[in-house]
C-alpha cells in the first residue's frame, strides 16, 4: 500500500468512526435525530454550517471557474457573505417559530405558517428534487478527487462506494450529531490543505502571490476583471447572481433545517456574525485556479486543474492528504443531504400525504428506511446514470431560491396568502426552468433564476392582495 492510499483510507475510516461515536448513549428519537435535540451551541453550529457549506465541489468548482472563466468565480466569495447577512435577520425568526411549534424541517415551517398541508408537500417535493442531483454531485466530486489523488490506485467507483456506505451508516446511528462531529475532522483537514496549496502553489511557481498576479496581468489582464473569459458574465450577471444565490443559500432544506438545531436564537445571530470570516479561505482556492491557468494552460475542463497542479507540484503522500481532505469534505454535506431528504420524505410526504395519524416513532422508523432509499438512489445515479440528473442540477439554486419570497413574506407580511405563495413558487420555477433549459441563461445579461425570482415576487404580491387574509397559525 502506498503512503497516499494509506492516508486516504485512514482518514475516511477515522471520519466514519467519529460519526459513529457521536451517537453513542443518545436515545435516537425524531428530535435528536433530525435537529440534534435542538441543543447545539455556537461552536458546534459553526462547525456544522461550515461543514455543510464547504463542499468538495466548492473547491473543484471555485478553482475550475478561476481557471476557465476567471473573474466570474469571485461571485462565490460574495454570495456567502450576503447569505449570512440575510440569515442574521431571518433565521432567528424561523428558530422562534420552530421552537414554539416543534418544527423539524423546512416544509414544517410552510405548513405551520400558512396552515396548508398541500403547500408543505409542494415544498418537500421541491426540496427532494433539488437535493438528489446535489448529492450525486458530491459523490461524483468525491470519486474524482480520490481517484486522481491516489493516482488511480482507488477507482472512483470504489471510493464512492466505501465512503458513502460508511456515511450512510453513521447517519443511521447518529443522525445530525454524527455529521457535526465528522465536520470537526473535515474542517481541520480542509483548512490545512487549502492553506498549504493556496499559499504554496503561487509561491513555488511564481515566488509569491503578487508575482503570480503580475504574471497573469501581463499574460491576460482581462481574466481578472468581470467578465473574465466568459463574455456573458459581466457585472449585471454578477450582481443578479450574488443576489439570487445569497437569497437561495438558506433555502436549501438542509441549511434551513440547521436553524432548528440551535439551542437559542442568540446562537444563530452570533453564528451569522462570524460565518463570513469562513468565506475568506475561498480566495486561496482562486489563487490555485489562477496559478494553474498560467502553469497548465489548455486543459479540457477547469474542474481538474486544482488536482493536476497539485500532482505536478507536490510529493505523492501530500497528494494523498489532499485527496483524503477532499473525500471527507464530500462525506459531511452528503450525510446532511441524505438526512434532510429522508426527513422530508418521511415527515412531509409520507405522514402529511398518506398517514396523517402516524406517530413520531413511526415517522422515525420510516425515516431510517428512507435514508437507505435515498442513499441507494444517489449511488445508482452517481455510478450508473451519471447524466440523468444534469438538467435538475442546472436548475439547483434557481429552483430553491424561489422559496425565499414565501419564507420572508410569511414571516414579515401579514397579508400574504398560501395561494399567493403557491402561485409565485409555481411561476418562479416555471420561468427558471423555461429560461435555463431553453438556453436563455443569462437572460438579458441577468441570471435567469433572478429574473424568475422577480416574476415570483410580483405574482405572490398580486395574488395575495387579491385574495382573503390567511388564517393565523394556532397559538402555542
Amino acid at each position: 500500500m502506498t503512503p497516499a492510499l494509506a492516508i486516504i483510507l485512514g482518514v475516511i475510516l477515522a471520519a466514519a468512526a467519529a460519526g459513529f461515536l457521536a451517537g453513542r448513549r443518545i436515545p435516537m428519537n425524531l428530535e435528536n435525530w433530525t435537529v440534534g435535540g435542538r441543543k447545539f451551541g455556537v461552536v458546534i453550529i459553526w462547525l456544522l454550517m461550515a461543514g455543510e457549506v464547504y463542499t468538495t465541489f466548492t473547491f473543484l468548482g471555485a478553482s475550475g471557474w478561476a481557471y476557465a472563466k476567471g473573474a466570474p468565480t469571485y461571485y462565490i466569495l460574495i454570495y456567502g457573505a450576503l447569505a449570512y447577512v440575510l440569515s442574521f435577520f431571518i433565521l432567528p425568526e424561523i428558530w422562534k417559530i420552530g421552537k414554539k411549534a416543534g418544527l423539524h424541517t423546512q416544509p414544517d415551517f410552510f405548513v405551520h405558517v400558512f396552515q396548508s398541508r398541500g403547500l408543505g408537500i409542494l415544498v418537500a417535493v421541491i426540496g427532494i428534487v433539488s437535493i438528489l442531483p446535489y448529492l450525486q454531485l458530491q459523490l461524483a466530486g468525491l470519486g474524482l478527487i480520490v481517484e486522481a489523488a491516489s493516482d488511480g490506485a482507488v477507482s472512483s467507483t470504489a471510493a464512492i462506494l466505501l465512503s458513502f456506505v460508511l456515511t450512510t451508516a453513521f447517519v443511521l446511528t447518529s443522525g445530525l450529531r454524527g455529521s457535526a462531529w465528522v465536520s470537526v475532522i473535515k474542517d481541520i483537514l480542509m483548512l490545512a490543505a487549502v492553506g498549504i496549496v493556496g499559499f504554496g502553489l503561487p509561491k513555488i511557481h511564481f515566488g509569491s502571490i503578487g508575482g503570480m498576479f503580475r504574471a497573469l496581468m501581463d499574460k491576460a489582464p482581462g481574466h481578472l476583471v468581470f467578465p473574465g473569459a466568459a463574455p456573458a458574465m459581466g457585472v449585471p450577471w454578477v450582481m443578479s447572481t450574488v443576489l439570487l444565490t445569497g437569497m437561495g443559500f438558506y433555502m436549501w432544506p438542509q441549511l434551513f433545517g440547521t436553524a432548528f438545531s440551535a439551542k437559542s436564537d442568540r446562537i444563530i445571530r452570533r453564528n451569522a456574525v462570524i460565518m463570513p470570516l469562513y468565506q475568506i479561505p475561498i480566495v486561496l482556492v482562486f489563487f490555485v485556479g489562477f496559478t494553474a491557468f498560467l502553469v497548465l494552460p489548455g486543459l479540457k475542463t477547469g474542474d481538474l486543474s486544482l488536482l493536476m497542479l497539485i500532482r505536478r507540484t507536490y510529493p505523492p503522500w501530500f497528494v494523498g492528504f489532499v485527496g483524503a481532505a477532499g473525500a471527507v469534505t464530500a462525506m459531511v454535506p452528503s450525510s446532511v443531504l441524505v438526512l434532510s431528504a429522508a426527513a422530508l420524505l418521511s415527515k412531509n410526504v409520507y405522514r402529511a400525504g398518506f398517514r396523517p395519524g402516524a406517530s413520531d416513532a413511526e415517522v422515525m422508523r420510516v425515516s431510517r428506511g428512507m435514508v437507505l432509499a435515498v442513499a441507494t438512489a444517489a449511488l445508482v445515479f452517481a455510478l450508473v446514470l451519471p447524466n440523468a440528473l444534469v438538467n435538475l442540477l442546472l436548475l439547483g439554486y434557481d429552483g430553491v431560491a424561489q422559496l425565499f419570497p414565501g419564507v420572508v413574506l410569511g414571516l414579515f407580511w401579514k397579508k400574504v396568502t398560501r395561494r399567493g405563495v403557491a402561485a409565485g413558487l409555481a411561476a418562479g420555477i416555471a420561468v427558471a426552468a423555461f429560461l435555463v433549459f431553453g438556453k436563455h441563461d443569462p437572460f438579458c445579461g441577468l441570471n435567469a433564476g433572478f429574473v424568475a425570482l422577480l416574476v415570483n415576487v410580483l405574482i405572490v404580491t398580486v395574488v395575495s392582495l387579491a385574495g382573503r387574509r390567511r388564517p393565523a397559525p394556532p397559538a402555542g
Binding site: 456567502g80 502571490i209 476583471v225 468581470f226 445571530r269
Partner: protein
Amino acid sequence: MRPAMKKALFCGAVPFVALVAALPFVNRLRPVVFGLPFVLFWILAWVALTPLFLYLADRFLRKDKNGKDGRP
C-alpha cells in the same frame, strides 16, 4: 419598527451596497493592492468587514433587549 432594528438593518445594508451596488465602479485591475487586482481586493476586504457590521447590528439589538437603549 423598533429604532434598534432600524439601526441593525442599516448595518446589514452596508455589505449589500459594497458587494453588490458598488461592483460597477470597482471592476478594475489597478491599483494593485497587496498584490491583488483591485476588484478582488475590494471584494475580499468587504467580505472580511461584514462580521464587523453584523457585530454592530447584534449589539444594537442586544442593548435594546436589555432595556439600556431605545424606547421603553
